[in-house]
Amino acid sequence: MAPNRILCVAEKPSIAKAVAQHLSGGHVNARNVPGNQYIKNYEFDFSFGQPWGSCSVTMTSVLGHLTEVEFPQNYRRWNSCAPAQLFEAPIETTVAKDKKPIADNITKQARYAKALFIWTDCDREGEHIGSEVRQAALEGNSRLQVKRARFSNTERAHIVRAAQNPVDLDDRQVTAVAARIEIDLRLGAAFTRYQTLTLQGMGGDLAEKLISYGQNLPLGLLWFYSELFPGSCQFPTLGFVVDRYFRVKNFIPEKFWSIKVDQMRDDVKVQFSWRRNRLFDRGSVIVIFERCLAARTARVSKMQKKPTSKWRPLPLTTVELQKLGSMYLRMDSQKVMKVAEDLYNKGWISYPRTETDQFDKGIDLRALVQKQAQDRDWGPHAQGLLNGNFKQPRTGRNNDQAHPPIHPVNYVSPGTLGQDDRKVYEFVVRRFLACCSEDAKGEMTTIEIEYGDETFFTNGLIVLQRNYLEVYPYERWESSQQLPNFVLHEVFEPTEANVTEGETTPPGYMTEPELIGLMDANGIGTDATMAEHISKIKDREYVQTQPVGGGGRGRVPGNSVQQFIPTTLGVALIEGYDNIGLDTSLGKPFLRKEMEAGMREVCAGTKSRNDFLHETLDRYRDAFVRIQQQVAMLRAVRDPYHVIIFFV
């Protein structure tokens, strides 16, 4: 009897290749696929679990999504319908033109197969791509059984286990993504067309007239490319940057005053800080200070020594990787993700898109630590963990039920990696080892004194055991100056007391870690797409980046944390929409956040696709109608070189 044939399809060629290598044990034929130079069909034998047994396998891949969603022909021209109609117009899903050979390949291969195993990435988007693969395969063979491999890294044993324990495709996730794609199409098309038509209607002459009318016209005029219209995620992302920009621009410094008390003892100058920290009222500080001086002596009111610790980090999520990547590794989030994905495709680390910050009890962490013991730098620490220092990692609050936290799955000698790969790999490994280590331990001494009517304090820290910090140089925790001896209730005359003056400083422009944090807190994008949104607002020149600290003066580009400054265009977009006075402005995160929450509900099965679609579209339609009613506030004109805003 001829062996069963099984067709496997991955999301990208690198995964197809890696999985084929692992399952075949190296005995694999690679065949070209007509019409696409990147896709290969890998043929080999593999024994799946029952009921399939020993099979001959064809492993191929797609290149992301196979299909695209469009309006039918009669809606596609700019003037074919009122933009508002695009909220209800029919839509069609077809295989994208450039993906036709890939889909054909799957259809053809499916004809001879008994079953289809889907190996797309295990996230929402991957689930949807899997459904597209299923569609193409069923066209070739309607009796095909469809399964999905559940995997989160390309380590050999993990892949073999995934191959032998397939699950079903999760149609809820498929549905949620399909709904999101539809919403993005409708919103993008309706808003873009509306703006473009508005600007065409104005013409250059009208624009010039408006300029000459000067201040008397109560409307804002924006010039921008219509195709620059930001998507529903980029709007709030840009909104954060613009909000911060204005906070910096509008900032007015103010003076404040404080009181410092010094005491020389055992040749150490002990500095006591005021419990009130600082006050913004000079007169009051002076009166209080005078009463301190009048009291002449201070009394030790509290002496406390207590153990303190600095907690080891939580298991690594995508959002943290992106934030810390730009803080510690000086890479922007998109770059970090690209490198991490590369490391994942090569089998060195687990899937880098995850929200989970808790390790499953079943995972053998010691075995993973063991693999790192051979490294020259962090090997000794790993060995120390194996020799008894191992601690079960802290458990965070998030679990996406799909992927474990990012961790190293195999050891690779850093010397064999490129510079960026090495930095990210080292960070992932060190973070993982830090998670499995003990908290850093220290002792904190607090001395409090009463002087006049006021309380002052000083802290002294002694770091006793560095523990996780040994392997995690990204964080600092240092012993402070040693405090001389003070006795409770002791009365002394302070050596010196002063009023100090300071001034408030503006916040910094938005940095990438902050922006990621804000997007995460407000549910803008997913861990998988945040970096893309950020990179998009840069590409479209809504924002510019510059190194923190002004930049320019001989700094190596890309070698410090970047901060975002909105361009005139970026500011114009946000102000334009804010001026329309939408209750829930598109520039604010609320609309998008509700949409993300809706998607989660669809995935969880607590909301139907239709309810989700209609609720979301209704909200945006409201916004759309408001914009239309107040057209005078927002006008767009094409101008290839200049972006000018007029507040006329």
């Binding site: 954060f240 909000d243 906070r247 900032f251 007015i252 103010e254 003076k255 404040f256 005053w257 800080s273 419990r275 009130r276 920290n277 600082r278 006050l279 913004f280 009222d281 000079r282 007169g283 009051s284 002076i286 009166v287 209080i288 005078e290 009463r291 009048a294 303190t308 610790s309 600095k310 907690w311 080891r312 934030k323 803080m327 908290d439 904190m444 607090t446 009517d453 304090f457 802290n459 820290l461 964080e475 925790w477 408030t504 870690p513 902050e514 944090g517 804000l518 995460d520 807190a521 407000n522 549910g523 209750d583 604010k588 995160p589 609320f590 956040k593």
Partner: protein, 235 residues
């Protein structure tokens, strides 16, 4: 009217004075009683009178005997320290939190205006990137100390600062709220408020409170321009 038993007026006055340190003028008391039914029991009359007094302007209706007022030179900055025996009733005309910059307060007001502080909608918050684990280096957070602009029955104005937290003194407190000062220390023209010497009677003056709230942002902005660090609490 005028059907009240004799001595009732003095009974009411006596009670207001002994329990609340309030000494309404005889004119005010007489006018008040004319609006009341003669059958109303004493305690109810006292309560109503108290409520009216707290909701009104003390410069209009309290006795101005020297002992019930601030010394005329209370603001003299050359006097390092003295104690007011009191009791003296004052009303709050303005309040400020000295631990917050004006700009910080303006930003908070504007966030509220944009609806970002209200319930039911997510507040845009800045997640802290600071390490959660390390022992907190305790610098006092939260509100205060506060600076109040106070006014006595003769209309004299003086600033008072919270030397120790006084319950009920907060940014949200009502303008026109009445305080009783007893044994309060004045240093360089500023009253030093602490629970031992300051008690709140409550109340508010509606039109002043409304105006204060409406003008708050404008006042803060004006105060920033004059960045001298003084004249914080009011107008």
């Amino acid at each position: 009217m005028a059907a009240f038993p004799s001595g009732l007026t003095s009974q009411i006055a006596q009670q207001l004075k002994s329990t609340k340190s309030l000494e309404p003028t005889a004119t005010w008391l007489a006018a008040f009683l004319r609006t009341q039914k003669s059958t109303t029991p004493l305690q109810a009359l006292v309560s109503t009178a108290l409520f009216r007094l707290l909701a009104s302007d003390i410069t209009q209706n309290l006795e101005r005997t020297p002992s019930a007022c601030l010394p005329p030179d209370v603001c003299n900055v050359n006097i390092k320290e003295r104690s007011l025996s009191g009791p003296i009733v004052v009303q709050v005309l303005g309040i400020d939190d000295m631990s917050k910059s004006r700009w910080e307060q303006i930003e908070a007001i504007e966030a509220l205006e944009r609806g970002e502080g209200t319930k039911g909608r997510e507040i845009i918050r800045l997640p802290s990137t600071e390490d959660e684990g390390s022992a907190s280096t305790s610098v006092q957070k939260g509100g205060g100390p506060h600076k109040l602009l106070l006014q006595d029955p003769q209309g004299l104005r003086v600033y008072g600062i919270e030397l120790k937290d006084v319950e009920g003194v907060a940014l949200g407190m009502h303008i026109g709220c009445k305080l009783v000062l007893e044994g309060t220390i004045v240093a360089r023209g500023i009253l030093l408020l602490e629970p031992r010497t300051t008690s709140l009677l409550g109340g508010r003056i509606e039109h002043l409170h409304k105006a204060w709230k409406e003008n708050r942002k404008r006042d803060l902005k004006a105060a920033i321009q004059d960045n001298s660090g003084s004249a914080r609490a009011g107008n």
